[in-house]
Symmetry: C2
Subunit: 341 residues, 2 copies
């Protein structure tokens, strides 16, 4: 017997070598099976699109096993429980978690990250500034960046979902913030909406001179989402005891062959600086601490965000590639429906 629900889902059709393109996915339709004891059925309202998903489909060594061919694309999603045979969840609960690019997800609860309790704020935020992006910004900056008032904090991908939050949190903690973004529109956002003290455009010919001027006192914290030539300009400008947080490598389009760059060891040694990789999964047990802080900042109008909402699941297959084309402004989401009860 199957339930009355029909599920459209985006599965991985073939394995990309680099950035996953639309042709690496296909959309299937399937009926939703009846729930077994201990399971819940979630109707997704919003699907997340984020740069890290590129790594989730690549075969290369990564921090998690890759999505299998034919499997539903792994992703965060937010939605509502429409049926439950699980003691911890009731019909009507609003949840977010690793529910995948699909209309309906069945889980025994392990895919659920949390119940969304900030019902005064838009549900979509639970995938962005109140989701993995904001939580990443909070812990990466607080625990790895360890900013002190007066520090210069440099953020690459400063107009992005994570970077924009990093900049605003750092500013709130008394730091001077320098954003790096691509294009005049994003640079203006950094200055006017996300409150960076300075913002520079890495696509401009005078980027190096502009960045050097914006970081005249050196760099105490570098929140790095790009690697590549942006980092190659930032790293030599670090101050004594600087902290470099590696959160992503967006500028590297391919890891085969492995890219080379100027060696960092001497910079780290001369400045007794730290370069540290960050994965938000390591802070799972403290997730609510971050969400509570971020939600309060939003309510007090001290944390701005931008969203770019694509309509319908057909937008999903090309959505990651679009991120890497730099076409989005703000957190990219796919809206399936708005019918949260």
């Amino acid at each position: 017997m199957s339930s009355p629900f029909v599920n459209r889902r985006v599965v991985l059709a073939s394995r990309p070598a680099g950035i996953p393109q639309a042709e690496h996915f296909k959309i299937e339709t399937a009926s939703v099976p009846e729930l077994e004891a201990g399971q819940i059925l979630v109707r997704n309202a919003y699907l997340s699109v984020e740069p890290a998903m590129r790594g989730w489909v690549n075969a290369a060594a990564n921090y998690s096993d890759p999505v299998g061919i034919g499997e539903v694309m792994r992703s965060f999603a937010a939605g509502q429980v429409v049926a439950s045979r699980h003691p911890d969840y009731a019909e009507g609960d609003v949840v977010m978690g690793m529910l995948g690019w699909q209309d309906y997800a069945i889980t025994d609860g392990r895919a659920i990250r949390r119940k969304v309790r900030e019902r005064d704020l838009p549900l979509s935020l639970s995938l962005g500034v109140l989701g993995i992006n904001g939580v990443t910004a909070y812990f990466a900056l607080k625990e790895c960046g360890r900013p002190h008032a007066g520090d210069t904090v440099v953020v690459s991908t400063a107009a992005g979902a994570v970077g924009s939050a990093v900049g605003q949190l750092a500013k709130g903690w008394g730091c001077r913030t320098v954003g790096i973004a691509g294009g005049a529109e994003k640079v203006a956002l950094c200055r006017n909406v996300f409150g960076f003290d300075a913002a520079v455009d890495y696509k401009e010919a005078d980027f190096e001179a502009a960045f050097n001027a914006a970081s005249a006192d050196g760099v105490d914290v570098y929140f790095d989402n790009t690697s590549g030539r942006i980092s190659d300009l930032v790293v030599p400008r670090i101050n004594k005891n600087a902290r470099i947080v590696i959160c992503g490598t967006a500028s590297v389009s391919n890891w085969q062959p492995w890219p080379t760059g100027p060696r960092v060891e001497r910079h780290l040694l001369n400045k007794t600086a730290t370069m540290q990789g960050f994965l938000v999964w390591d802070y799972e047990s403290r997730y609510e601490e971050a969400v509570a802080y971020l939600a309060q900042q939003i309510r007090e109008h001290r944390l701005n965000y931008r969203e770019e909402v694509l309509e319908g699941i057909d937008a999903a297959p090309d959505a990651i590639a679009g991120l890497y084309r730099g076409e989005n402004i703000g957190k990219r989401l796919i809206r399936l429906h708005d019918d949260i009860v």
Copy 2:
């Protein structure tokens, strides 16, 4: 008026671009002036020779200002106070500090690192395993490497003055130790004297395979004194939450042009690993903690060391270049005399 003492001193004659060679120094003779109030006169017994001294004479950005042309070569030395007009020092005190490559040093006390109180142990040790080398090993491993029992700790320059101590301390703290050294003699020392669980020769053709076999469970702590191709093999093998301590870059002979290598960011990200530069000067206030621990390890025969003693100040000018030629085994020193009262 001048004192009856004649001082031979090694001064920097010209600035080297890379590794300082004998021709970059010259030896001068000068009379020793009378002491002013607040000064002491130290007769040096041992002069230190260490890889970091290369950086002290290079104009390139470094962690300290370079030695000026015509100035006495900066170095650690150990000796005895032969005259004092300083309330904290008495004739006969044995001291070590930044006394320079010379027979006699005059200081107002600021050049003195410490009084040497381990008179039951050879004075030369205060420049090696009980000096900056041992103290470096202790704090770099303890505070940056943060080893846990059962960790695999990889040490480059494992037969050297610092690396050999790192390996033995790590072993004493319950770790499995893998040493990397150049040549059969040093590899044998690593195995037989410094107690490494495995030691591999980076000069052998099968280095990569041998190292991979020796680090089959991955690398939890990498104490790096080399950078370059050794690091390029080690870094991809790090485990989750690995700590890479950058203590030196001995394999890089020149920083102009700045050398390139495989990018480290993705490795650090995938493993949420840390790469941190270490300078022992940052631990000055805790120097005695390290010396006390190391001295006790030596007395209990749990910390072995090797010294290579060059005789007389004429050996100094070529001594740094010789380090980089890899010709020494153990801590390199220059003995001026043995007449400690």
